[in-house]
Symmetry: C2
Subunit: 321 residues, 2 copies
């Protein structure tokens, strides 16, 4: 595979425009009510905030959104609420990869039928050690079942949680069978060499590191940006870093240090609980701290410690505007 | 915890009767049609065959039943078909543990409402590294949500596939909070010491090794029997081994060797695909070989090799009656 001619010698921004998706994307956290149900109103408000503050797009129903703790019906209803509130489907990438083939197909059809053509799919992740051929058939069943040529499939590689890696063998097979539809990878391996290897191997695809810590390295190598949990708290500065790289590049070192410091502080605790604690604290809205089991919320002491670490890291208080 | 007085010095069979469940249980394989939908008629016929040929009970929607490849609705409909065909709910243990808390609760409520009080539950298995407290809250939410004192919860420990172990810390916590409801463990660790450790620690609970290879060792130590995939092909001999142990015990060595040889032959290939190949071959019904992706069926060559290995292992052709 070669880069499209238009991308050769293009400016950084022009190259990014040739990819099936690019920029700073955030997997939105999912607010819950006291009964552990999804609070759609708070979700829509948070999604809007993320987009207004700089996210190019949102991955709804990712790991950070606790997607795998919600039923198919809950996920469909939430997507409909988001779209019903006027969020453009072009700015969404919808997580639809489940254990059950029927669930993955149902969610994918629903997303596509609602105008959301970008899907972020985990492989079926209960059964381990499955062959690439078996995994391919699972994705093929969904792609063929949706039957929409505008579909854009992004593989979600998160072996630490899924236990099922998305291998280059699988990606190659899928690219061969569904050229154009296979659009990218979210690489949450946290392995720099793995991410750079994907970028080198698939220049036509949008390869997103799963954290902003690899944003610059990825962009330099030809990556698409990042899809990062911490954008839920720190979107503005991460976006500034992205824009600096696309522009003059002069500020990137300082900004990269700033986003890393905040990320490190957030990683002192389980990420989803930490992000919800930040939302609860800075929105002055304790309801936000609720997580669905098996996750547990930070204790007040842990929350105070986190806020102190973030403060030391130079964190810009969010949600003030 | 101590054994109930009635169990002290009891005969093997009498001790087993004091447990919340005992015997040889089989996770039934799930037949599919050409469109990968569940074939209820074949399923009911196979379930009946398993019970008639010696299974004390069936675990419906386990790993071997490809449960995690089916939607909540598919699982509910299949359970209803099984009960509607006259299979007694007392002979079932229903798999209801999903990633999503809402799914686990919905399936558990549905099973209990249909008279199936024995639940076999995986912990929520997408998110890894969750605390015992978080996992406990997940199970507690389901138990309290079902709100049926007759519920009997069997933990499903299968760390190789789930990635989320059921620890003694979790079991202790659950036994303390829900005495009587917490009823046992299916231990699919394949680790003899782990299984024997659970049996020693929880004499009131029904501890089932996840394979017949630990049937005898488990029974000797105070275990409940076994829940084993290979019963789908070899139930009669496994049951004979169980009965021999409960009775004179004279034949156990020979029978144990026989079931191990068959198990070893089956394990030459991925278990579910192998069991379905056996069903297709001996039922003379190729449809049975179908699996849902990410699994793939054996090739004709693999199938022939498996049948040859089984023949060498002294396998008794099933489904002849």
């Amino acid at each position: 595979m070669n880069l499209p001619e238009s991308a050769i010698d293009a400016t950084p921004s022009a190259r990014l425009e040739t990819l099936p998706a690019h920029g700073v994307w955030s997997p939105a956290i999912t607010p819950l009510d006291a009964d552990l149900g999804i609070d759609r109103e708070r979700y829509v408000a948070h999604a809007r905030w993320l987009l207004e503050r700089g996210c190019h797009g949102l991955t709804v129903f990712g790991t950070t959104g606790e997607a795998n703790s919600f039923s198919v019906a809950e996920r469909m209803e939430l997507l409909e609420a988001l779209l019903g509130a006027g969020v453009a489907p072009e700015r969404l990438m919808v997580g639809t990869g489940c254990c059950a083939l029927t669930d993955s197909l149902a969610l994918s059809r629903h997303a596509a039928a609602n105008g959301c053509k970008r899907l972020l799919m985990l492989p079926p992740f209960y059964y381990k050690g499955m062959s690439d051929e078996g995994l391919f058939r699972s994705f093929a069943h969904v792609i063929e079942g949706v039957g929409d040529g505008d579909l854009r499939l992004f593989f979600y590689h998160f072996p630490r949680l899924s236990g099922v890696p998305v291998t280059t063998g699988l990606i190659d097979r899928a690219c061969g069978a569904f050229p154009g539809v296979v659009a990218g990878v979210k690489d949450s391996s946290g392995d720099r060499e793995h991410t750079l290897g994907l970028i080198a191997r698939y220049p036509h695809l949008a390869i997103f590191p799963g954290a902003e810590t690899l944003l610059l390295a990825g962009l330099e190598a030809g990556g698409a940006g990042c899809i990062t949990a911490s954008a839920n708290a720190n979107v503005a500065v991460i976006r500034r870093l992205y824009d600096a790289w696309c522009g003059s590049g002069t500020e990137t070192g300082t900004l990269d240090g700033a986003v890393r410091a905040v990320r490190e502080a957030l990683e002192s605790y389980p990420m989803v609980s930490a992000l919800k604690a930040v939302a609860a604290h800075f929105r002055r809205d304790p309801t936000w701290a609720t997580v669905r089991p098996p996750m547990i919320a930070l204790t007040p002491e842990q929350g105070a410690d986190l806020m102190s670490r973030l403060d030391e890291a130079g964190f810009e208080p969010p949600f003030a505007d």
